[in-house]
């Protein structure tokens, strides 16, 4: 209930944060703290030092350019949900953010914190994967850009090195205009038992020009449902096509059951949610 003793330091610049991080191998960056602090209270995490990065100006901004959208790592969920410009160019992000947890969490939690914590049931993981986001990372060896596909390694593990800091997340533009996030929350935790982000572009004849589908929560890792997208490409969105795409897409996850939700159930739920997300886009 009370964390083991730790030091707290607030960084006001990226350099300060990276220096502090380099000076202590057991230090952790603190953003919204909504995943890290509960783990510390249960003493499952025992960092010696927390480096608060939420006052670093360049981590707190949302930039929209013609070819990309850049979200600073310390941008909070509520900022995203309330940003009108974002609502126009990437409604998917606001849609996903608004179903995360509750207002208190959305007030504190950050986009970068969610990415770096890499909970396999995080709503945003599906959004990052489906929209082909890029993670901007800075460390002693300079800047790296990591595509979403290369970010998630295992539950709670990313390719971010311990001495590196996530600066922000970039989404390429233009994004497909039809986009949605559909979530089936776990009745206990509210995390996604299955969450599906889907983006579609259609040509003038109503055939699929571009498709992207990703699933979070259901499988042991969030995943891109490439087979679903492949099945959709060039097709008119008939019921059969959507059904087949959902079947194929859900088949790509690796499912592990727990005492309440079996692997079989999770795969079924992924299938149903992909199907419903696509149906929503057909109507859009």
């Amino acid at each position: 209930m009370i964390p083991a003793a730790f030091q707290y330091e607030r960084a006001f610049s990226v350099e300060e944060a990276l220096t502090a991080l380099a000076s202590d191998p057991d230090a952790k960056l603190l953003s919204g703290g909504h995943s890290l602090l509960p783990m510390m209270k249960l003493r499952l995490a025992r960092p010696t030092k927390l480096i608060d990065i939420t006052r670093i100006p360049e981590l707190c901004t949302i930039t929209i350019e013609s070819d990309r959208i850049s979200i600073g790592a310390a941008v909070r969920y509520h900022q995203v949900a309330g940003d009108r410009r974002l609502a126009d160019v990437m409604p998917l992000l606001g849609e996903a953010v608004r179903v995360i947890a509750d207002p208190q969490v959305r007030h504190r939690g950050t986009i970068g914190g969610s990415a770096a914590h890499a909970d396999p049931a995080s709503d945003l993981a599906a959004v990052f994967l489906a929209s082909e986001a890029e993670f901007r990372v800075l460390g002693p060896r300079g800047e790296r850009r990591i595509p979403a596909d290369g970010w998630y390694v295992a539950p709670l593990v990313t390719t971010l090195e311990p001495d590196e800091m996530l600066m922000g997340i970039d989404f390429p533009r233009p994004l497909s205009s039809r986009q949605t996030y559909l979530k089936f929350p776990h009745p206990a935790s509210g995390y996604a038992l299955a969450g599906v982000a889907a983006l579609l572009s259609l040509d003038a004849e109503g055939r699929v020009r571009k498709a992207s589908v990703a699933v979070t929560g259901a499988a042991s890792m969030p995943f891109r449902a490439e087979a679903a997208a492949d099945r959709l490409l060039g097709q008119t969105l008939t019921k059969d096509v959507v059904r087949e795409a959902s079947e194929l897409g859900s088949g790509e996850g690796e499912y592990t059951g727990d005492v309440q939700y079996s692997a079989l159930y999770r795969q079924n739920l992924a299938r149903v949610m992909i199907q419903r997300a696509l149906e929503r886009l057909v109507q859009a």
Partner: protein, 787 residues
């Protein structure tokens, strides 16, 4: 006083304090020099303790002392149980305050650290080294009765804690009956989770020998009796304070080792000590509820008349007997398995079984939800077996209005009611024929909705105390009240009941306001402090307003009677000629001359001019023992939709028509019903403790244990009928538990009704999306196999 507050939707007096953070909860206690305790709990469900080494922990700066079980053995008595059902062969096994040789559940206390801060105390827990020898563990009560099961207690062979039977012989009826339906039902274990966790703080006064124990208790006087016995502190030197308690649902009835340990340490160290459980501790170390495996059978005719019902129950008691634990699956369950139906023959046989799990005790409804669930489920099975509408089967068997007082097969005397009226009212709200038509139409589109009924009755407000004794409750079930009018005319009301969220600071003030003709704000209700209130039995079992309110009504009447005597003297008229109306005394038929209640009060205290033989002062006490239980009843209807693809159940409508007699504050009554329904729906759809094969609790946090949430509910549609109970002065019936008792079977019946066309005919609670979906898959598999 132009408008009576009695029966009005008065806002709760306690709420401004509570919602602005001014509540006085146990964890709010701050004292000079306060130390903080933390408990080391067993990670094993069953293990021998080989050694405990606390030297490193004790050497840590800020750590004052570490207590272990072997140090306290002989100094602190074991925790007793307070309910010994007669002829149950109850095995009163030892429950030490800290385990000294063996731990029997994951969460069993092993050591207590006292330190200068809570953080230091928790740090020190990490430094205590305990050497365990793990033993095989068992969490399931049926498996625990097998001959090769691990044994928990040397003096409880086969892990049987109790064996109890009640009722009439039903064998002959079952043999001769045309229709017999049977089902084995698991009523899963629930974790209470009140908003406020348990907490205790203790202060010992070395000069007077008085120990004050702040504790999250539903019944401070029961705590005083038990803690006094365990620690050997006489009752006149032991004060229990439970001013604001943030919900209990039964989990704060029991006397736990934790508060005893805190009190012991405060006396031992001569310094105040406080402990508050974490939510994680609450999941494993606070009593759980339900956990039955029941075999229920019903015998009936082909035309819908129930002839007999019988139940064989296996109740999980957990690792030790909790305070009221043994009474819950026996007295509070077995005596009412016929439910609201006129059934001539009924019997119940109950095994209480020890397992390597958290002890089980009362949880909102306590025994009555379990009984109600069985009868309401088996009535639906019976209806299906004879192809009759479940409403019609209920209608044919509900006790009729003219049968009251109704003697049930176990000797209970149901007080009053018109069960058919409540049923009809609820059906009218539903528009039953229309919803059945809609169900048919939706089924043709592959959509599944279901309608479920629960025509329940329950027993609450237990008493008289003679009956409490006869059923083995080690206490009385009367209640005390004192009404003290202060010289200026304001009133303090002292109740032995101990409300902890139910709103009686308001309801009781409404009773007194009505009796004394005073405004509500002139009345303060005092509870939860054994030094301020007279002996009383606390709040549980929906007894507070029926029994405590009864005591209060009597005490208030006594105050009015004395005031009337004084008023007559002041008005110089005979007492019989005095009329008391709207706070003033005047001669009957004339308002020209009158004295106010305040003037009479002042005279009572000045005592310058009192009638001969009348003592000064204006206050009165009452110790009220009810003549019998009360029996609230009603009809609940749930309409659900089931998404066959995801298995998700959604409540579309919920209708409840309840009868708790006259209502003192309808808003509070409705709040109780709303909350109760939500909790019962929690059991049907969401909640359930899950143990793994090592008897480890898998659902040990809100990440895995699903509590019902507001967004899961539609607007609940309420109405009521009013049938006063003849068993108490106010005619009221308890309403704290009816929602929980009625709603679980209503929702389960609705889901089963929705799933019927898919071929699902049995499913264990909670109806999680996965369970429902898997049941549908299995049924489709069976159909596939058949075709």
């Amino acid at each position: 006083m132009s408008q009576s507050v009695y029966g009005a939707r008065v806002r709760r007096k306690e709420d401004p304090r509570l919602v602005t953070g001014h509540g006085q909860y146990t964890d709010d206690v701050q004292l000079p020099g306060l130390l903080y305790a933390a408990m080391l709990r067993s990670p094993h469900a069953h293990a021998r303790i080989l050694s405990i080494d606390a030297r490193d922990a004790e050497a840590m700066p800020g750590v004052v002392k570490v207590y272990t079980g072997s140090q306290l053995k002989g100094l602190v008595a074991p925790i007793p149980t307070a309910w010994i059902p007669p002829e149950s062969d109850l095995k009163m096994v030892e429950h030490p305050v800290l385990a000294y040789d063996r731990v029997r559940y994951a969460g069993d206390g092993v050591a207590m650290v006292v330190a200068e801060s809570r953080a230091l105390a928790e740090d020190a827990l990490d430094a205590i080294r305990v050497d365990y020898e793990a033993l095989p563990a068992v969490y399931d009560q049926v498996r625990a009765m097998a001959t090769d099961a691990p044994q928990l207690h040397g003096d409880a062979p086969g892990n049987v804690a109790l064996h109890w039977t009640v009722g009439t012989d039903t064998d002959e009826v079952f043999r001769a009956a045309d229709v017999v339906v049977s089902q084995t039902i698991r009523q899963q274990r629930l974790i209470p989770n009140p908003m406020e966790p348990r907490s205790a703080a203790a202060l010992y006064n070395g000069a007077t020998g008085e120990l004050t124990l702040w504790a999250t208790s539903q019944n401070p006087h029961i705590h005083r009796v038990l803690v006094s016995g365990v620690l050997g502190i006489p009752e006149h030197r032991l004060r229990i304070v439970s001013t604001d308690v943030g919900g209990g649902f039964g989990s704060k009835i029991a006397c736990y080792p934790d508060e005893v340990l805190v009190a012991y340490a405060a006396r031992d160290l001569g310094v105040p000590v406080k402990w508050t459980e974490t939510r994680s501790e609450h999941f494993t170390a606070t009593s759980h509820g339900r956990d039955h495996v029941d075999e229920v059978q019903l015998a009936g005719t082909r035309d819908g008349k129930v002839l007999a019902v019988r139940v064989k129950a296996y109740a999980n008691m957990g690792a030790y007997l909790s305070t009221a634990g043994p009474g819950v699956p026996t007295i509070l369950f077995g005596l009412i398995v016929n439910g609201a139906y006129d059934i001539a023959h009924a019997s119940a046989e109950v095994y209480g079984v020890f397992t390597n799990t958290t002890p089980v005790d009362a949880y909102r409804g306590a025994g009555r939800p379990e009984a109600t669930f069985l009868i309401e489920r088996i009535m639906d099975r019976y209806a299906a077996a004879i192809q009759m509408d479940p409403v019609e089967v209920r209608r044919r068997n509900l006790i009729r209005r003219e049968q009251f007082p109704y003697a049930n097969p176990f000797g209970l005397s149901y007080d009053s009611g018109d069960y058919h009226q409540a049923l009809d009212k609820a059906l009218a709200m539903l528009d039953y024929p229309a919803i059945r038509r809609e169900q048919e139409a939706l089924r043709r589109q592959g959509k599944y909705i279901g309608i479920g009924f629960s025509t329940y009755v329950e027993m609450c407000g237990l008493g008289p105390s003679q009956v409490a004794g006869a059923v083995g409750f080690q206490g009385g079930l009367w209640e005390s009240a004192m009404v003290r009018v202060h010289p200026g005319g304001k009133v303090s009301v002292f109740t032995g009941a101990s409300p902890h969220g139910q709103g009686e600071e308001t309801t009781f003030a409404q009773i007194v306001a009505e009796k004394l003709g005073l405004p509500l704000e002139d009345i303060e209700v005092v509870h939860g402090d054994t030094n301020r209130i007279a002996m009383g039995w606390g709040t549980y079992g929906s007894r507070t307003t029926a029994v405590g309110g009864g005591a209060l009504a009597l005490a208030a009447d006594r105050v009015v009677a004395k005031a009337k005597t004084i008023a007559a003297h002041m008005l110089e008229i005979p007492e019989e000629a005095v009329q008391f109306e709207e706070g003033r005394f005047h001669p009957e038929g004339s308002r020209d001359r009158s004295v106010s209640f305040q003037e009479v009060t002042l005279q009572a205290y000045l005592a310058w001019n009192l009638p001969a033989g009348v003592e000064p002062g204006l206050e009165a006490s009452a110790f009220y023992d009810p003549t019998n239980f009360t029996y609230p009843f009603g009809t609940h209807i749930a309409v659900v939709s089931v998404d066959a693809e995801t298995g998700e159940t959604r409540l579309m409508r919920y209708i409840a028509v309840d009868d708790c007699g006259p209502t003192i504050n309808p808003m509070i009554v409705e709040g109780q019903i709303h909350g109760g329904i939500a909790q019962g729906v929690g059991q049907a759809l969401y909640e359930g403790a899950v143990y793994d094969d090592d008897a480890q609790l898998v659902t040990g946090s809100f990440l895995d244990y699903a509590m019902p949430k507001a967004r899961f509910f539609p607007r609940i549609e309420l109405d009521h009928t009013v049938t006063p109970s003849p068993h108490n002065p106010l005619g009221v019936k308890g309403v704290g538990e009816t929602g929980t008792i009625a709603s679980t079977p209503a929702v389960v019946n609705a889901v089963m009704d929705a799933l019927a066309p898919l071929g699902v005919d049995d499913l264990a609670m909670p109806f999680t999306p996965a369970r429902v979906w898997e049941a549908i898959q299995a049924a489709e598999g069976r159909k596939g196999g058949q075709s």
